[in-house]
């Protein structure tokens, strides 16, 4: 991801001495990574840009704590994930999902899932993502984060461990329970659709 001509060490030195130019270069370099994380774990009513801004201000304000033992991208990722998790926790209400609230696309997708066993048509990827995000919104923030990382972003258990700081046993147990809850929500929705 990093630009070949970009000198991260020099940029970090600049940030430690509060150099504005270094800060601008750093933001431009790391922005796609932060945006990707924020977009994956964004609460329903939060603004993507506002959350990115919060993440960058946290990163820049705490740059003195970066020891250099891990790549800066990993350190930034952890801050971004924790910020998203806090934003999800702050969103206290969990919506109740009803078949009648589903859009036509989502309802058609659920019917397609119920009636045939083949893989879904690639044109329905966006609708699938939309439906999964709707289902995820009823889960707890940590459960939602785990399902997104493991099933949508393709993280391994080790990647999740690095990104969240949770141990493998916790991740496995939480992932299993999260998946059960997601399945239950999916079944409830299907059952309601058949009524």
């Amino acid at each position: 991801m990093r630009d070949a001509g970009f000198d991260m060490e020099a940029c970090l030195e600049g940030l430690r001495s509060q150099d504005e130019r270094a800060a601008s270069d750093f933001i431009r370099e790391i922005y796609p990574l932060v945006l990707k994380i924020v977009r994956s774990h964004l609460p329903r009513r939060a603004s993507e840009e506002d959350l990115c801004q919060v993440v960058f201000i946290k990163v820049l304000s705490n740059i003195g704590q970066y020891s250099g033992k891990v790549p800066v991208e990993h350190w930034v990722s952890r801050i971004a994930i924790n910020s998203c998790l806090n934003a999800l926790k702050a969103e206290s209400s969990r919506p109740e999902l009803r078949w009648s609230d589903l859009s036509v696309d989502r309802a058609a997708l659920l019917e397609a899932l119920a009636t045939n066993t083949d893989s879904l048509d690639p044109s329905s990827d966006a609708a699938s993502r939309d439906l999964v995000e709707t289902l995820l919104a009823i889960l707890k923030p940590q459960d939602r984060l785990l399902i997104t990382m493991l099933h949508l972003e393709g993280y391994s258990m080790d990647d999740v461990k690095k990104a969240t700081g949770w141990n493998i046993a916790t991740i496995k147990v939480r992932a299993f329970r999260a998946r059960q809850k997601l399945k239950q929500a999916f079944l409830d929705l299907n059952r309601e659709g058949k009524l």
Partner: protein, 96 residues
């Protein structure tokens, strides 16, 4: 694997295929806002240090006050000095 698990897996696989466009560049004005927020926060950090010292000084003052109050309360409620009691009795006995 039962049917509902299979359906959920298919849904998750399809959702994982969806890759929205990720902007390479931050939006206009974003960098300036972040840098301004960062520098304003850095200014507040200096103030934060002063506040920390103020808070510590305040807590020390409260602790000294509490010790002084408890010490004076203890002195007030302790038994009266025996000599003073005798002196008061003698003074009272002389009265007509």
């Amino acid at each position: 694997m039962n049917k509902s698990d299979h359906s959920l897996d298919r849904l998750l696989r399809a959702a994982a295929q969806y890759r929205p466009e990720i902007a390479e560049e931050p939006p206009f004005g974003f960098t300036a806002r972040v840098v301004a927020g960062w520098l304003a926060g850095a200014g507040r950090d200096g103030m934060g240090l002063e506040m920390l010292w103020f808070r510590r000084a305040f807590l020390c003052a409260v602790a000294v006050m509490a010790i002084a109050v408890s010490w004076s309360y203890k002195t007030d409620t302790s038994a009266p000095n025996a000599e003073m009691a005798i002196a008061s009795y003698d003074a009272g006995a002389d009265l007509p």
